[in-house]
Subunit: 485 residues, 4 copies
């Protein structure tokens, strides 16, 4: 699948539920289902009944990991869930979440979206104190830090730990009788909380998941906040002052989030349309005439709203050019050589009638490694497209992410050492247009409050550039449970 | 999943490959992959090496059924494949295809798309001659009929059998050293043949699958033809005279086929846009003013082109209103009661910003049982839509299909005994518009040559209406192999 | 496992149950469980409820094939079951039994223990009549022959078919509302019937299985009989006159049957003790003094009673010399080279204290291919045995079996072209003694009525010696379902 | 299976290998295979290559857990393995061993046979220091204690930890480049080391496993020793002085160990024969005449040597009375009611001919809960035994074990509050004889050096009798990975 889509990859989706009158495991399951796009490698649910915590997790899609019988054994009123995208070959059980440990203050489970930039130091410190680790995940480091007796309450202990954590973390934490939702003071990753119609509350990475559960009165968890879901009330604590300006990940809008996500008041689908509109404006300024193309086509699915927006502003007709195979997924069958030459043919087919003899504008969300743009262009030319102009709804990605998005290392990034024209030549386009940083921020609706480090190299937190090479895995023994079949 | 989409269901996709210089099993796998939308219940591949035929089939998606090791054991130059949608609870191994038997003329495998209307009589006749049957499938009846010594060659034997077969059949037949592609004289189901770039030929239910394999010089197998793929040549025999007019299934255009399919010169995506255009014309004629709505939204994915066409003609802006969960599939987890009330919420979420306070036109491909239209409308109203007008790209379906499409029985069909207004009231729409038969045929591009029996009740072949109740299963013993896990 | 035991291999165990007040699927499961030693490759159960027959079968042990849920779906009052040993690499679903087909007279399932010697001709004849075959099994041929309308009742049709069947067949046949137990007129394989304490009847290959079910009034099904189990009564029909003398397989006593089996009045455990006693007498006659050895040890488990009998007659003390690993089974892990040199070490370890410095007599049941005797002797010598004398409880096997026992081909049989002394040298024994044919028959208790063809080459039915090479597989296409994991 | 055998249950078998020229994973696999009788619930292997440690473990038999591909991925020269019997319903992945963690001194894996009596305190102490625990196992406590920086070398750290551990522990510990074998100073559980023919060394719970690997120069690891296997040499350190007298578990001889095990010079098979001989002497003294019985039969397999010994001394003929179903194992199918009444019939059948009309002496190894003796006696009476006399090769078990053997709680033990005659009456025997403590120790060969706490209540280490109720599980969250299928 890697060869079939070139996009940054999200680390996870998280969810937390307190629902006194419900089957919380089943609710959490359907919430994770709505967050499946944020991670397809592993899934897990932990449920607390006031005394103990039960956990089930495994590699695979949410629907593959959980059976009715498995959910039935997870009983209680409090739950958290996690769906994970794993960066490397280590798509393994060991790093699946939630993590669950027994501490002197009772059982503790944690689900994490994001990445700490100082986890190596924190882990080494714990090791010096005699803690052994079972995984390479920074999330296990966070869990073990909460096992320390650093305060009289879980909230106090979480607050103490937050002081030491640097980087991106949206968390759902489960104890015997409470769910805590925590967001780092930079606000890198989204997290929202809502009220359940049957009583109780839920938190999730995206509002779409909350709406799937029927939530109303949805509100973002603010940077630096701890939100507590318990049978007493929903309480909100500003554990750390928010960093100003905040550093929300702009890629949530460009690619990660589902179009029905609304983050701090901004709807993702609307942003994507505006990205296309801004792109059309810049593109028009660059070309001599608006008649320079016959049709605008998206690379489905994420670029469809942008292509529609582009069409509106440019006046060039929108049409579908690619058919996407909906069943592309977890096949490990390698194509034959003769099929391989046809490149992305397994995932995308061209609707020949719509591009034959035409000057085509292709809208795509981003170019990271640059390995799919070329094959897509070749498919269009094979289908008879006269010209292929590529328009991208963000600027060139020149720097890796250290806050939980897998964009690879500097060497992986096609734009790291190449000019736009060099990239254009490499992928074989007639023209290549990237949206400007300003244009992108106009579409998002604000010039600041966002992390743009992958475009600018200006990181909101101090990072160790040398660690970009390793893919952020902590040094680890190989450890494997049952692999997926 | 049944509760989440209301559409007629196709029975199968078939493929055949002769490729002397290729890994034919792997090619067939990727061809089936491109036909996955035609059936997700079971898949199988049979390969011949000149002497024997090897077969592997099982329940599940193509990518679940086949592993690299399985394909490696299927060696030879000739192959056929099948992907199946099964109508009832019998989504079981017993009816998976291809069927493979040893006959006095050597091994024989068969993959079938369609349904014979006289299979019960043919089966009873064979039973009287002492043949026992292992499945309830009409395709096993066809296979056993070919085991009879009715002629000196396979082509002769196929021709003899064709004389007795009444109904829909597009077939890929495999012998020791040949692939035969056969299409019934009515031409109910599509089947096309193309030339492989590496030498050899392929046949498939859709041209998109042939293009995935790199085929050129693609041509429809004509009604009544037997096309022979062997190492000698591609030969075409008009085994039976084509019925005139032919009876191509119009639902291939409305719902089944992938948009990149081109059948007898007509592209599916283009037809769908025209269906939307025709629908807009008829809708405009029915309403007092074109300002009667604020936005046109499709039910993704099949209705997107029609919604775009509708928007163009009506001038009402197109936008996305639903987000479809791409991971909905084979989960057997039932929602909790409180989730169930939210109906289709598992599969579709609304982009609230795009419908709030608006008069919405929803474009959908068809209404069969009518069980999803209501919940979709409720979702829109919950999201604040002011009015919801439903427009359907085909006429009301009033009659079951006997030629291989599962539309259920008369009692299942919501339009069987209800007026349009009764349906509108039942689903809760502000207005409900079905495209007229004439409008639909204008979009398809021809007034005749198509089976419209599900709209009109005029069947192109004599059918036994009483058999509609049983779902076309032949009387059978229960027989089960290993079920999917 | 092949490398770890050298014994002829049985083809199957069969069972049939009519129990109006019981969960017949579960009873059949436990009956198969008690027949597991007769075949570990595949298992299946078919159940009839008066109208239809349900079937579940798969590769694996009985306990692996069936789950509680699977049994729960098999409802009715009549059942048959089968556990299979498969001869070649084709340990596959295709040949698993029972076979189940739909015939003009209703559903029919069949479970078979034995082998027809004329199945190739019978199959060719059916093929000429237009029947296609799904497997390479002679049992499918038998099933299809019963699909013919050769008489007014099932009993009549079975009787007609029996006239054409030549070879070994003990059958359990299931129709809508009846179980039939059938034994060939030569009486090659055992089959017994008993009365269930809760009402109803059961038939099984061995009396031990019947006793596990609580049966009383156990009686052998006689050669040529059809026994009918239905809700009316137990009826017995002498369908064909019994061949005189009969041809019971003597290897049932030597190796196949469980010691608690009693066949035609003769208990297997008692025969095995007498085999050891007879062997001791012959051995004493061959050696100069009874002090020629210090200890008698068996190759566990089948030779333990013989070793005890040998010890009693010879006066040489019995002791355990080998420990058998009870968990040897379905591992496909190959040992390392250094482990491989230790030969059978994976399955057998020596109790050094019991053989060190001693002259050891080893009792084994038979030598077929001769591949384990040598390694066993080496293990004893490594453990310090001073002398190793091997005594076998049957004569040299010089001819293959055509009636359902896999002894390999002529070339496989170590005794086919070698003298006893050549075999002794090849396996490295200090002496090698085979029990004489007369001695063996004395232990069994009768000089005639048994098939001794594997020792004498005198086959009770005409056989095609050339077919011994192919391992009795009928010519077949490869056909595979889901393989065991 | 619980219902089918009444015996104390061992916790584990362990193994360690250093083999520079071998596939150590495969060697460890075959070693575990030979230790399978010590635990059938889970298995695991960890391998070190000088830098990192790879681990694979899962629930199931050794042969089910490991595939060839799994072993191939475990590369290196150092390995440890574990096979586990789990006491309660928690037969789950979480407690499977080896445990593997990353520490400040590198990766560390541990496999443990035994049970600490002070693990609850040790765990609480670690928790107070901020360590979180993932399992309820005392072995994880031991692993985490070794993560502390308590000395400059692994040997020093192990030595420090040993000072705090109270109870039974035979350990195989794996670091980057070393295997350590450790035995507690009481010597509760066996552990032996041997030299591999290809170079290198191996340690294992039993000498039979070492012999399977071809080991020579086998020597017990002595109480309190740390034996180091590395590429430098085999070094032996007396880390703690041995407790005198030692406390070897006498049940290793009575039931756990395989007959080819030789522990501190004493062979298990020989002890079992002597147990039968001593029992015969005591039995003779108790009965008026040696003609009081007609036949001595064992409950297979563990009691066969004792029955032979009993027969020799008593002069009463030995014979087999029970047939044991070799395939009884992991079936979860419950028998029907009518089958349930037949009790142990699933596992044992009677050879009627050998007991009918006879006065039978049954030899069994022990009576723990007492739930199988009664059904076995009933089986014999149903088969026509005239009298049934039960003789047990050890004294009544009156006290639970705290050192790693699952005998249940006080309430579970049938002999805790009953006299021998009450037990006799409860099981329905004509007479019941337990071997005396003195007789047992004579058979073992020494009056001291053994733990006899389960008979006497004299524990060699201070125990908390209240913990016997809980089954020794540490308080834990439920945590589950993929369960066996």
């Amino acid at each position: 699948m890697n060869a079939w889509h070139d996009a940054p990859r999200e680390e996870c989706g998280i969810i937390g539920v307190f629902a006194p009158n419900e089957d919380v495991a089943r609710m959490t399951f359907f919430g994770l289902f709505a967050l499946q796009h944020r991670g397809q490698e592993a899934a897990g649910i932990a449920v607390a009944d006031g005394q103990t915590i039960s956990l089930y997790k495994n590699v695979g899609l949410v629907s593959q990991v959980f059976r009715a019988g498995t959910l039935d054994e997870l009983r209680g009123h409090y739950a958290i869930g996690h769906t994970r995208y794993s960066t490397t070959g280590s798509s393994l059980l060991r790093n699946a979440q939630p993590f669950l440990i027994e501490t002197m203050n009772g059982p503790l489970a944690l689900a994490h979206n994001g990445n700490l930039v100082n986890s190596a130091e924190l882990r080494a410190e714990l090791m010096r104190q005699g803690v052994g680790f079972s995984s390479s995940s920074d999330s296990e480091v966070m869990t073990m830090m909460l096992a320390r007796d650093a305060g009289p309450t879980w909230e106090a202990r979480i607050k103490e730990a937050m002081k030491k954590w640097v980087g991106a973390y949206s968390l759902a934490i489960l104890t015997r009788d409470c769910v805590y939702a925590v967001r780092d003071p930079w606000g890198f990753r989204p997290l929202a909380v809502g009220m359940l119609p049957s009583g109780g509350y839920a938190v999730a990475s995206e509002t779409g998941a909350l709406r799937t559960l029927g939530c109303e009165a949805i509100r973002d968890v603010q940077p630096g906040e701890i939100v507590t879901l318990s049978d007493k009330a929903l309480t909100i604590t500003q554990a750390l002052p928010p960093v100003n300006p905040s550093a929300r990940c702009v890629f949530e809008f460009i690619y990660f989030a589902r179009p029905d996500q609304t983050w701090e008041g901004v709807n993702v689908h609307a942003v994507r349309q505006r990205l296309g509109e801004e792109l059309a404006k810049e593109w028009k300024a660059n070309v001599s005439t608006t008649n320079a193309a016959d049709v605008v086509i998206p690379v489905p699915d994420s670029s469809i709203p942008a292509a529609i927006g582009f069409s509106r502003v440019s006046g060039i007709p929108y049409n579908d050019g690619f058919v996407k195979n909906r069943y592309v997924g977890r096949t490990f069958i390698e194509p034959t050589d003769s099929l391989r030459k046809r490149g992305v043919g397994m995932k995308f087919n061209v609707i020949i009638e719509n591009v034959l003899g035409k000057r085509v504008i292709v809208i795509d969300d981003s170019i990271v490694r640059g390995n799919t743009t070329g094959p897509l262009i070749r498919l269009l030319r094979q289908a008879g497209a006269k010209e292929v102009h590529v328009c991208i709804t963000c600027p060139p990605i020149k720097h890796p992410c250290f806050m939980g998005v897998d964009m690879g290392t500097y060497d992986d990034l096609i734009a790291h050492k190449r000019t736009v024209d060099e990239i254009r030549e490499e992928v074989g386009a007639d023209s290549l247009t990237f949206l400007s940083l300003d244009g992108m921020m106009r579409a998002v609706g604000s010039a600041e409050g966002y992390c743009q480090a992958c475009f600018t190299g200006q990181y909101p937190v101090p990072v160790d550039l040398s660690s970009a090479k390793t893919g952020f895995e902590l040094p680890i023994i190989e450890k494997r449970g049952k692999k997926e079949q």
